[in-house]
Symmetry: D3
Subunit: 247 residues, 6 copies
């Protein structure tokens, strides 16, 4: 099985972090290709960054379709471009936010999310509503860390995340914590150790869900709103999307 793990931002160091997390849980028979788009923001910390990164996700799904790809992971906690990506392929496409929510709800009755910046908490809240987990999630918390700080100052970032997780443990009456950023993928063991609650991380969760869906012989439904997009002309910097004929 070949899974393409797409880091929607363009920071290679974060792709490496994500790749390492992905490989740490992948089945022996699963091959992981971790990539980032050639075009897009170095980190995703706003609605704007997210909208641009959706196109990077599209770019990488189209690249994946030119090879044999069995599943795609969108490794940013806002699941940017999720529905668009699903339209472009018969393979399953799993976002790391949804993956983490699904897994957390299988091992706990209530969980909280600990993310990076207060301003992006709303993105997680919109996803929880949209996917149906707003009752299962007690609270979205922000540790107030810029995303790239996870790469540049990992010790300080780790400390802040653990502090917020411990507050969640004390105050939220929960059974598990979801880490709300792809860049935290390599910190799970330390956080888990320090917090003493099950910690659900999205990249690893998504790998196992992708293997699950493929193992069931299922893929993105091509009936209804996720059918291939109608081929049509595109202009300007998106002219290369003209008359796409995915199959």
């Amino acid at each position: 099985m070949h899974i393409r793990v797409i880091n929607p931002n363009t920071t290679q160091a974060m792709t490496a972090t994500i790749e390492s997390a992905a490989k740490s849980v992948a089945a022996a028979s699963t091959r992981i290709t971790a990539t980032q788009p050639s075009s897009g923001p170095v980190s995703i910390e706003s609605h704007f960054d997210e909208a641009v990164s959706a196109l990077g996700v599209v770019e990488e799904v189209l690249a994946g379709e030119r090879e044999a790809t069995d599943a795609y992971i969108i490794a940013c906690f806002g699941d940017p471009g999720l529905y668009a990506a699903r339209e472009l392929t018969r393979a399953p496409v799993i976002g790391i936010a949804e993956a983490a929510f699904h897994i957390a709800s299988l091992i706990s009755t209530r969980f909280s999310v600990v993310t990076t910046l207060p301003r992006t908490a709303i993105i997680a809240e919109h996803l929880l509503d949209n996917y149906g987990f707003s009752h299962t999630c007690r609270r979205v918390r922000a540790a107030d860390i810029p995303v790239l700080e996870l790469e540049d100052n990992p010790d300080r970032a780790l400390e802040l995340i653990i502090e917020e997780c411990l507050r969640a443990k004390r105050e939220d009456n929960i059974g598990a914590i979801v880490l709300g950023c792809g860049g935290m993928a390599d910190l799970t063991p330390q956080i888990s150790e320090a917090v003493g609650l099950p910690i659900v991380e999205g990249v690893t969760a998504a790998i196992k869900l992708a293997e699950a869906v493929v193992g069931l012989g299922l893929g993105t439904s091509k009936f209804g709103d996720l059918a291939f997009p109608l081929p049509k002309p595109f202009t300007g910097r998106f002219a290369d999307y003209s008359n796409l004929k995915p199959t």
Copy 2:
């Protein structure tokens, strides 16, 4: 007051339709600039088209910010790029779907939506949930018309829309109908006449809401999740977004 009405697709004929609708209701003191992006799809009929068109919206907001612009309208019923656009400006940004929902709920207790394609009905449903109108809207109906048919075969399109509106009137126990496509903007009078219910059309609704917000001296909040995005490097075809410093 200067309102930039952004047609998120690249079909100029549709921009003209939208412009004409916008001008038909704008105050005497309101100047309308109707534009479409240089890059993007000729119509928006899928999640994929919508994701790409969000970047066209961004392009047009950035262009608007280089002039004196008091408000922006996103004239596609999926409100593509709405939150991203809001981050880029202090001016209000109004999507035509939200505009139509707000106005319809001021004149009726329950309404239905009549849109073009069944596959895009889900986009309207997600917006209704996200904005809080899922109880106020009885039903999202599709007349099963490709978007550009509105330009190419307007008589047939009109007929199908009116039929679906009449079904909604008979079956849905509603007080108003929302037209679910920017390309229907010029058909409102005929539909209204034929159906005998208040018909709320999004482009016109958005113009009046934009005038309302500006008239209140308000604009997009720059506090919280809609603050200007943090400037940062972008690569590849989005390198021009690097270190944006909107003010």
Copy 3:
């Protein structure tokens, strides 16, 4: 355009406050008539006051219908008599609570409400649920001020409101604040200045929404639950409502 702004309580000083706020944002071509009913409570601070004031609203709409009136505003934050008033006219009828919620949701992704008394917070909560804004509003807060204190001891009232608004800003992760009382209409500039967040006030919001609806050629739907009430006998102190035949 002629808008009748109805202060549902009988305190003329508050009508004057409301009128002044209304005029401060009305278009040049909009004529404002601010009135209060001859019958009713001097302030609205309970479910009981609200039920009585609904009849004052009715009285004023019936008076408005005898003149040429293009729109009505119900200038009390509980929107008393809103649906009844809508039944009596083809003109749009806008409550200041709904108006403020609509406008706040156009400029921010989440807002809080700051109202007067803890006991009336439930009225705002019921409206948020009913209109669909209970997810968009983070919290209804009360500054614990009797309504007429706004007239009698404005400096103290202003101070308490600003304090509560600042608490909301610090604690609620919001982009805007809605002022929850018609009597606060003249305080918006000072509150806005002191708090540093967009402040949405209902009277002004309702004026611009009324202008918007009228500008669209729309009015209250006469199809369905807002159709004119069936004419019938009324007795006792309401005998004058017998056989109303609005048109």
Copy 4:
């Protein structure tokens, strides 16, 4: 125990119907006083009628408070004036719509409502949302009968109601039906017989719930939003409400 059953409309024949239903289930030790206000509409078939009838309910609660009254029933399916009435007394106040919803949910997992007019279905829907029964109720159906037809042409009305109940039984996957009009109170046995499902009627339900609450030694909470209204001046036709000092 003395229960005051308030018919919010002014039609004595309907009061008699309601009284008879109330007495048919009241405990031997319960004394029923059935009344209607001296002021108000002859039937309640619109938001407007309902707003006016709320004042009739208030009138009757104030009258009841001058005697020894242990509980109040509001015998119109819209529960007009419910919260206002509760503020005026320490006794419990039960609306027949809420009573029917509570009882129906104790004997079935899902129920439907059959009411009179399509235009008042929205009132029942608002109540279901407000009270939390919108998931328990499958559907609000209207038999399309003017309220007074129940008095004037009872056979025809009965036939239409039974037909609609049978449709609900066939189509709605329910265990019980709620009758949505106080005027149907005397028809329960025939409807029940003809439909073969448990039929829950609000007047009788409310009597037993009132007896239950009184039997528990409980009454309307005077803490929070249902505390007695603050005494204050009222003007005009409501001057008699000035400085109410309920105890």
Copy 5:
């Protein structure tokens, strides 16, 4: 009228407490039989205890059906086995959690629950969602008392419950408190006295609701999902349930 009050745990002292509470409010003509199953846990403090106790409830309903029983009460705050019990009888079956929620919502607009253990708060939350009271209930609070402490160390338990109730009164903006454990049934007067808010206790609430439903001539609907279970073979320790033919 004969009501069988089932204590789902096997602690006789608690049955006695419950019986005493039940008798304190029952009508003169109501005969109370309080029982506990011969099989099950001594207290119910987990999902596991609750699942086992559902069978004890079943055992007691089957026993009741062999006598003349007019109604059943399930006297544990998780309402264990409620739907199963309803299937086995034409009589009404009332859980004390639902009973308390229904009564609390008739005397207050918002209430909070005070239960024993934090880990069982989730059971109350699930019930609130399932029954539709999650908006009416502000908060489920736990006083952190093991259930049998209510029998073994009643003074300490009472003190902790009162403290938590007073916190709810101060912080939750509520009109009433629901006691979240059948074992608290005898403490209501003291708690009520100390807290100064209406206190709703489930056993007493359920008795009066059972009398209400029976007094209406209603019982559990035998149409739809609560129809008698299809007779069929059972094996092992449940072989005695084979070919049940309730009528």
Copy 6:
């Protein structure tokens, strides 16, 4: 990895069907033990059957804990005993209903459920609400087949299920169908072939989700409401549960 697949009813033929489905998707390194309890109903078609079967599930989890078991599947579409089972083990416990809902929402934006009997549809509806999938699921449909008919008259059952699935495809605007009974596990290929939509079956879905959770090094949270139950005395037919000390 060793997964214990628990058929909660006592029909061995159905266990064999479930085992075969489980093995058809299990990883090479996964060992499947399919069992059914020694005590319980031969099929689960009511709330009562479900309550009894929860104890069978408990019995089988306790048996599993005496061996090395890495995960448990509850192979009945009502997920009977799910929370109780989770309390008894550190291993993950997955219900087939939740499993199917999770997988269906990863490959489609909206799905419908096709189950056996109309009376058990309510069980699926309660689960959808409880887990947060009530918006993602369009409709729960019943093909009106007794559960054991799936064993006894498989051709007829298959035909009825396919007919209902085709109705769902035509009418529900969905991308996938969830099969609502463990006994349908072997019919997936034929249904899938005949219907032409992705068909999600719970037993297979649960196997892959169990492998996913175990592969992540996660298990049921022992913090909060799913912690091991407090050891305590049990009596009668459940005396063997006394002083359980799971670890």
